[in-house]
Symmetry: C2
Subunit: 339 residues, 2 copies
C-alpha cells in the first residue's frame, strides 16, 4: 500500500516532512497546504509539490506565479493522512475539519497533548500509535530527551532524569524573535514544560528539567543526568548510545560546538543540512556508580522529521516499529556515528 499524505503548513517542520515523505517508497505527497504566497510557498512549488490554498487566496498565489491545485478541503478528500505542521496551537483548530474529512492526522509538539490520542516517539511507543486516528509527535527538546532515556533504559531501571536544556532562542529564519543578547531562565521555576511532555510519551518517570534560552539559532544543547538503579560502566553507556537508533556519537576532537556540527552536516549534502539524530558528545559521557551524565546537541528544525514519517506508518498500520524505523533511517541517511 502506498500511503497518500497531505502536509498542512509548509514552514520549518512542514517543508522537511514533505521532502522526507517524498523519499519514502511507501508514501506519496499528494499536496501541501500554504496560506500565504511567500518564499516558502514558492520553494514548495519549485520542488514540484502540488499547492493547495484557502479559496480566497487562489488569486494571490496565481498572481505570484504559482499554480494552485485546490483547497485544503479538496486535498483532504484525496489523502489517507494529514501531517499538521501549522503553527503551535493552530493545529487543534483544524482537528474537526480532519475529523469530518475522515482522514488521520499527525500533529506536532506545539499542540496541547489533548489534541491527540497518543503523544508519539518512534523508539519509545510506536506500538501505542498503531491504528490510532490522532497522534502528536512531541517537540524537538522532548524528542531528544526521550531518545536518551530509551537508551539509558537499556541499562536497567532509571531512577531519575535531570536535564539542563540550553535552548536556541530562535531558528535562523526567524528575524522577529530574541534574545540577541543575554541568557533567560525560562521558566525560572522548574520544571520547564519538557518534563511533563516527556511523561506524555513514556509515562511515570522522575524527571526534572530546567531551560535556559541562549542567543543562538543553530541547535539546543542538553546536559542530562541519569540515576540508574544499578551501577554501570562508561563502556556500558557508550554501547547503549551506539546501539540506539537515531543517536549519533560525535567526538569533540572533530566537532566541539553546535556551529561546527551544523556546518559538517551542510557539507554532507543532506537537505537543508539537517541533523535528524541526537548528536551526543562521546567525550561528555561521565559515569560514577549509577550516576550518568551525557551532553548532546539537538537540531531543533530536523529532529522530529523521522518521527513524523514513522507516525504516518503507525497510524496507517502499514508497518511494524522496527521496519518503519529502518526504512526511515535508510531513506534519510540516518546513521549512528560521525567520522
Amino acid at each position: 500500500m502506498v500511503v497518500k499524505v497531505a502536509i498542512n503548513g509548509y514552514g520549518t517542520i512542514g517543508k522537511r516532512v514533505a521532502r522526507a515523505a517524498a523519499l519514502q517508497p511507501d508514501m506519496v505527497v499528494v499536496g501541501v497546504v500554504k496560506n500565504r504566497p511567500n518564499w516558502e510557498a514558492l520553494s514548495a512549488y519549485r520542488l514540484g509539490f502540488p499547492l493547495y490554498v484557502p479559496e480566497d487566496r487562489v488569486e494571490a498565489f496565481e498572481k505570484a506565479g504559482m499554480r494552485v491545485e485546490g483547497t485544503l478541503e479538496e486535498l483532504l478528500q484525496k489523502v489517507d493522512v494529514v501531517v499538521d505542521a501549522t503553527p503551535g496551537g493552530v493545529g487543534a483548530k483544524y482537528k474537526s475539519l480532519y475529523e469530518r474529512a475522515g482522514v488521520k492526522a499527525v500533529f506536532q509538539g506545539g499542540e496541547n497533548s489533548s489534541v491527540a490520542e497518543v503523544s508519539f516517539n518512534a523508539l519509545a511507543n510506536y506500538d501505542a500509535a498503531v491504528g490510532k486516528r490522532f497522534v502528536r509527535v512531541v517537540s524537538c527538546n522532548t524528542t531528544g530527551l526521550i531518545r536518551l532515556i530509551v537508551a539509558m533504559r537499556e541499562l536497567g531501571r532509571v531512577r531519575s532524569v535531570r536535564a539542563v536544556l540550553v535552548r536556541r532562542g530562535a531558528d535562523t529564519k526567524e528575524v522577529k524573535k530574541g534574545p540577541i543578547e543575554g541568557l533567560i531562565l525560562k521558566p525560572a521555576k522548574p520544571p520547564s514544560h519538557h518534563a511533563e511532555d516527556v511523561k506524555t510519551v513514556i509515562g511515570d518517570i522522575d524527571v526534572l528539567t530546567y531551560a535556559v534560552v541562549a542567543p543562538t539559532t543553530l541547535a539546543h544543547m542538553h546536559l542530562v543526568r541519569f540515576e540508574l538503579e544499578e551501577p554501570v560502566t562508561r563502556e556500558d553507556v557508550i554501547r547503549a548510545l551506539e546501539t540506539t537508533p537515531r543517536i549519533m556519537l560525535v567526538k569533540a576532537s572533530l566537532l566541539s560546538s553546535t556551529a561546527e556540527l551544523r556546518e559538517a552536516f551542510r557539507d554532507s549534502g543532506r537537505p537543508l543540512g539537517d541533523i535528524y539524530e541526537n548528536a551526543v558528545w562521546e567525550d561528555s559521557v561521565w559515569v560514577s556508580g549509577g550516576e550518568v551524565w551525557v551532553a548532546q546537541a539537538v537540531h531543533q528544525e530536523a529532529i522530529v522529521v523521522p518521527e513524523n514519517i514513522d507516525a504516518i506508518r503507525a497510524v496507517m498500520g502499514v508497518s511494524d516499529k522496527e521496519s518503519s524505523i529502518k526504512i526511515t533511517n535508510e531513506t534519510l541517511g540516518i546513521r549512528g556515528w560521525f567520522a
Copy 2:
C-alpha cells in the same frame, strides 16, 4: 593602619579593584600600572589614579596627554601590597619582581594556583590567607560556585556538587573573541577546570562541572545540583541563601534574564553597573529530600572585586573575616536582595 595598594594592570578586573579599593577607609591606591596608553589608561588618569608605566613607554603616555608618576619598580617601593590584575598567566612572570620588592601580592584566577600559597574566597577560607605573602583570588565562575557551596554547607554535609555552567563567550569590550553563534561544549570531556579550582579553596569535595560557552557577553548562568547528607526543605535552602553574604535572591517576576539583571544594576547607579553578588533566582530553588537545585547568574567582570578587597586585608592581617566582609559590603553597596 591604612594599607598602601598598587594595582598592576588596569583592565576588566584591575580598574574595578582600583575603584573599590579607593572606597575603603583603610586603603589608599598609591598607583595603577598600565603598559599601553589606551582608552582604559586614559580612564584611570581621568579618575585621578597615579599612573606608573614601563620606562620605555613614558614618552608614549606623555604624548597621549597622561602624566606619568614613575615605573612599576618605583611604585612597588611605595606600597604594602600589589593586586596583580595582568592578563591570565602573566602575573606569574611578575612574581619574582614582587618578591624582590618585598611586597605582598594578590593574584587573579587566570594564574595557575601554584603561583600563590593560598587560593582565596572570603567566605570559604579568609583565615587561611591571613598574613600570607601570595594569595590568589579564584576566578568568577569558581567564586560563584564556592559561595553557593558555603551556603549549602550551612544545611549539613554536602555529598556532591554537580554544575552546568553556561558561560558568556566574551566580555562586552572584547571584540576579537567568540562565539558570535553556536554553543560550545568546552571541554567536552568533564570536568571543566572549575571543579578542580573549587577544590583549591575548599579542599576535598565531590564536584563535577560541565561548561557550555554561549554567544553572550553579559553574565554566566549556573545550574547547580547539590546532594546533601540530610533531607532539607525549600525554606531551609532559601534561608541559607538569604543569610549568606554576597548571595542575592532575585525574583523572576522582576528579572528573568541576565539582560534585565545587568540593566537593573546599570539603573542602580553602581560603578559600571557591576553586580558583585551571586544573583540566585529564588523561583529556581527546587528541593526533594537531600537533592537541591539552584540557578544563578554571575557577572563575570565584577564578582571577584569584593574578594580582592578582602584578600588585601587578609594578607595584611589588618582585619578579621567578619569585619572585612562587612566593611567591603557596606562600601560597595552589596546587599542580599533585589526588589
